[in-house]
């Protein structure tokens, strides 16, 4: 990351939301394109060392993006983003959910609501992503799932976490 670009990551436990803000050194139209065209999404969306592969894409209200994030062993993690409202090039809202390869949403896992906004910041662009879960129980389910996947426990930043939970 370029050191002068803003990056905020805020968890609000009482509202079960994550708010992520990030500045990019590019015009809003270009950043918007990177979020809303699958040939561009495929080039950045999965965190390293995973890669992104689109199975189907329809960026329209009521449409969805069905894609996989693929780890170096070739394991596919399927998801889909359903688009709810779209206001080019200011923002969009939708739902993120886990699916199988055919795109069927896993009913046992909570979906999160996402609200994306894009604003001019001089020659740069500021994006804000608000990820909300329906309830603290939904968020707990997602966390417990992560725990089952064998994450090691640490308590190094417990005090920081307690401060975060208070926010």
């Amino acid at each position: 990351m370029k050191p002068d670009l803003r990056f905020d990551f805020v968890a609000d436990m009482q509202k079960s939301t994550l708010t992520v803000r990030r500045e990019f050194a590019a015009k809003r139209q270009l950043v918007w394109d990177c979020y809303t065209k699958c040939e561009l999404l495929d080039q950045w969306y999965a965190p390293k060392p995973l890669t992104t592969k689109t199975k189907s894409f329809d960026f329209n209200e009521g449409g969805h993006w069905h894609f996989a994030m693929i780890d170096p062993n070739g394991t596919h993690y399927w998801s889909r983003t359903d688009y709810e409202t779209i206001t080019p090039i200011d923002g969009y809202t939708g739902y993120d959910g886990f699916t199988d390869e055919t795109g069927v949403i896993n009913p046992n896992l909570p979906r999160s609501h996402i609200a994306m906004t894009f604003t001019d910041q001089g020659a740069h662009t500021l994006t804000e992503t608000v990820v909300s879960y329906n309830s603290p129980e939904d968020l707990q389910t997602v966390i417990d799932m992560g725990m089952e996947e064998g994450m090691a426990s640490t308590l190094e930043r417990l005090d920081e976490l307690l401060v975060k939970l208070t926010a």
């Binding site: 990351m1 129980e137 966390i143 992560g146 417990l158």
Partner: protein, 114 residues
């Protein structure tokens, strides 16, 4: 929304209260008897026990009675899982945005050349 219907079984509900957060912070240092935990608060014991019970239901603490003394211990697993998840989410977003920085640089390079 649904504020009054929420079951009391999540760590988030348990930690939404300042008294309960303080109790957890205290127990992180080591087990303590309920009486000692309650001492700083101007609160009737039954009210304090309700807080202890919420923390127990959330799996954040456990308590055991020996003779007339009930001792509470901190259970780190639940909170550690939440912490790990947030750290993991942060790392995912940070890595994803780094990729996007690189892509934007490439795309702007292409535009400049044409």
């Amino acid at each position: 929304m649904d504020k009054y219907n929420e079951p009391l079984d999540t760590i988030f509900h348990a930690l939404a209260d300042p008294t309960r957060r303080a109790v957890v912070q205290c127990l992180v240092k080591g087990p303590a008897p309920v009486k000692e935990l309650a001492a700083p608060y101007n609160m009737a014991l039954p009210s304090f026990m309700k807080h202890i019970s919420v923390l127990e239901q959330a799996g954040l603490i456990a308590s055991q009675k020996q003779g007339r003394v009930r001792t509470c211990t901190f259970n780190p697993d639940k909170l550690a899982a939440a912490e790990q998840w947030f750290e993991q989410q942060r790392a995912i977003w940070a890595s994803r945005f780094d990729n996007l920085d690189n892509l934007l640089t490439t795309l702007q390079g292409e535009t400049d050349e044409t």
